[in-house]
């Protein structure tokens, strides 16, 4: 894994020390150079009906890496994730300040079509939510929305997406079967395949394995690692082992604030702040 350029020359050396596990003197929050950053969150505050959920959050998510958000429940990690593809638009009680930029472009700008944004920033939810259709139709769903595909091309993309989600071998003989006939683990991979089929640049995963058994969890984790060569992944998880196993960078959120953000190895082995340490050692729920 090549090291990423950080935003300030002075921090570059810190980062390299970080990655090799040495203490970081530059502060608890890592920052990346604009040219490696895929998502820039700046001064983001979110409130549900007046109750603040995120407070003045600033962080950058690096391209082609897996970034994990961890923190106790209610800390705002899922809220932040959902803000990244504007799913909060559905809820009128949510008010927002601050900006989020995808590849340098403000996603709340009036000229941005929200459906196009959501296609570029795909999302996988905690509970698998396949549509009540066949396996094939589930994967083709997003493609059909865009239209203009020949049947053969569609078949190719569906096959590719299912292969990318490591599901092809299990379902290739029953593509017409109902998606609800799959096991929960398979359903979750189907949902990932469905999302991959529209070729997002970013994939947001909201506790994607929390409803799954250990073997399915392992498969999803493998999948996440294999996908980062092609897109940027952001993972929300309450499972710290999982964050440690799959992510490159980890952000620890608490009470709507970003507490610490560092390369995963360094955050777990050598947290800079006591709050972080308390959490990852289990002294704080």
């Amino acid at each position: 894994m090549p090291e990423l350029p950080l935003s300030q020359p002075s921090q570059r050396s810190d980062a390299s020390r970080l990655e090799s596990g040495r203490p970081n003197s530059a502060g608890p929050i890592i920052d990346f150079a604009p040219d490696v950053s895929c998502l820039d969150v700046e001064g983001l505050s979110l409130a549900y009906g007046g109750k603040p959920a995120l407070r003045d959050l600033t962080l950058r998510v690096p391209r082609h890496r897996v970034t994990a958000f961890i923190g106790p429940s209610g800390c705002g990690k899922s809220t932040l994730l959902r803000a990244l593809n504007r799913l909060h638009d559905l809820n009128e009680a949510v008010s927002r300040q601050g900006s989020i930029r995808l590849e340098g472009q403000e996603i709340h700008a009036p000229e941005v079509a929200v459906d196009e944004l959501r296609r570029r920033v795909g999302m996988v939810f905690q509970a698998p939510n396949p549509f009540p259709m066949s396996i094939y139709e589930n994967v083709a769903f997003g493609l059909r929305l865009q239209g203009g595909l020949t049947r053969r091309r569609m078949n190719d993309i569906v096959e590719w997406a299912l292969e990318a989600a490591a599901l092809w071998d299990e379902v290739k003989d029953r593509l017409r079967a109902s998606a609800w006939s799959l096991s929960i683990g398979q359903q979750q991979r189907l949902v990932i395949a469905r999302t991959l089929a529209v070729r997002p640049e970013v994939l947001l995963l909201d506790e994607p394995a929390s409803a799954l058994d250990p073997i399915s969890t392992l498969k999803i984790e493998e999948l996440i690692r294999s996908l980062k060569s092609q897109l940027t992944l952001v993972l929300v998880t309450h499972n710290m082992q999982q964050a440690a196993r799959v992510s490159d960078y980890t952000a620890f959120l608490h009470d709507g604030e970003l507490v610490e953000y560092a390369p995963t190895a360094s955050l777990f082995t050598n947290p800079r702040l006591a709050r972080t340490e308390n959490y990852i050692t289990g002294r704080m729920a």
């Binding site: 079509a113 459906d115 196009e116 493609l143 929305l145 865009q146 239209g147 203009g148 595909l149 091309r153 190719d156 993309i157 590719w160 292969e163 990318a164 070729r199 294999s226 996908l227 060569s229 092609q230």
Partner: protein, 377 residues
């Protein structure tokens, strides 16, 4: 490692957005339109009537004179319907929420839902043309049945405690709703066999004549009791369904606490569950009242339609709904009698709408309360 992404396809975004915006606008327009059309009913009635009320075209006296017998009849019919329906509906709701076995309950609820769906015209026909003449002929028998049914149930309850445990197990209280049916049917038939003999002894064989001669009570074949029974039958299922929902919605942790301290299920119900569900039960009765006030065909067919203002449950009456159904087709549009009937319709509308709104608000409060109670435990 996965294969690289296939090349990107063409996008058709602008058309999709246009379509989306168009459809959303259409849905909004259509939806608002439909809702306005539905709500327009009240507006129409008000527009037809209110001006003539203010301009004095409809005098106070005229309104009182022509509408008060109808209003009286409506209330009388609704009152007797509730007298029959409410105890039965609440009893059935309590039994099925607290005692009944879940298997039986899942069958009984749709059955009573079917009862609710029976057309009023059929119930009215049976009440007016079958029940009314029968009761007229068997007046004593009918009164005896009203007495025998509750007594028979109590007898069954008393006898049950002395049954052998094996038999008790085969006839549990949880299934009493079912196995009491043949028992009651048997009792009813027996009572009908015995009554003529009793009537002959006590009332010289003619209760109706006796009532007339001794108490001066006039018996009309189509009377408030018949209407009450028939309409009670029609109203009972909806009261039952709503009351049952309210009772079974009470978080079970509430009742379990009381039962853990050794209370019987009835005590638990009376002291804990019923107070918690009281607003819902009240709402159920209100909705029942709304239905009873507006029901047309049953009153039309079973009441005799005489615009009397008497208190006696054995005499007939005429309700507003029935009056509208009979007279409006003949009334000339714009005439006084037309306006009076529309005024009657407006009153019906306002009454049922208010009653239902009240009930709905109470119910939604109650739902919120249950959710909180459920969260606490």
């Amino acid at each position: 490692m996965t294969k690289p992404f296939p090349a990107s396809p063409a996008h058709r975004s602008p058309r999709r957005h246009l379509l989306d915006r168009l459809a959303t606008g259409l849905i909004a327009a259509g939806g608002i339109g439909v809702i306005l059309a539905v709500l327009a009913i009240g507006a129409f009635l008000a527009i037809e009537v209110v001006p003539s009320l203010f301009s004095g075209a409809l005098g106070q006296e005229q309104i009182t004179l022509s509408l008060s017998p109808l209003a009286w009849g409506t209330l009388k019919a609704a009152f007797w319907a509730l007298v029959f329906a409410v105890p039965m509906a609440l009893g059935a709701a309590i039994h099925s929420a607290v005692y009944m076995s879940p298997g039986l309950r899942s069958r009984i609820k749709p059955t009573l839902e079917l009862m609710e769906a029976l057309p009023g015209v059929v119930i009215g026909f049976v009440a007016g043309l079958v029940l009314a003449p029968w009761v007229e002929r068997h007046l004593a028998g009918a009164f005896a049945l009203l007495l025998v049914m509750p007594l028979g149930i109590l007898m069954a309850g008393g006898a049950w405690r002395w049954l052998s445990p094996a038999l008790r197990q085969r006839l549990p209280l949880a299934w009493a709703g079912l196995w009491l049916v043949p028992w009651l049917a048997m009792l009813g038939l027996a009572a009908l066999e015995l009554v003529p003999w009793l009537e002959a002894r006590l009332f010289a064989g003619d209760l109706r004549g006796w009532l007339d001669a001794e108490l001066g009570i006039d018996y009309a074949s189509r009377n408030a009791l018949i209407v009450g029974l028939a309409m009670g039958f029609a109203v009972m299922p909806s009261v039952y369904a709503l009351a049952e929902d309210a009772l079974s919605g009470v978080p079970s942790s509430l009742g379990e606490g009381a039962q853990a301290m050794g209370a019987t299920r009835w005590q638990t119900l009376w002291k804990v569950v019923l107070p918690a569900a009281a607003p819902g039960v009240f709402a159920a009765v209100m909705i029942g009242a709304g239905r009873a006030v507006g029901e047309t065909m049953i009153v039309l067919m079973a009441s005799g339609n005489t615009a009397l203002m008497s208190l006696s449950p054995l005499e007939g009456m005429r309700s507003m709904a029935a009056g509208i159904a009979i007279e409006l087709p003949e009334a000339v549009a714009g005439s006084d009698s037309y306006r009076l009937l529309i005024l009657a319709a407006l009153l019906l509308f306002l009454f049922t709408f208010l009653v239902n709104t009240l009930a709905e608000v109470v119910r939604s409060r109650l739902r919120r309360r249950y959710r909180r109670l459920g969260d606490l435990s």
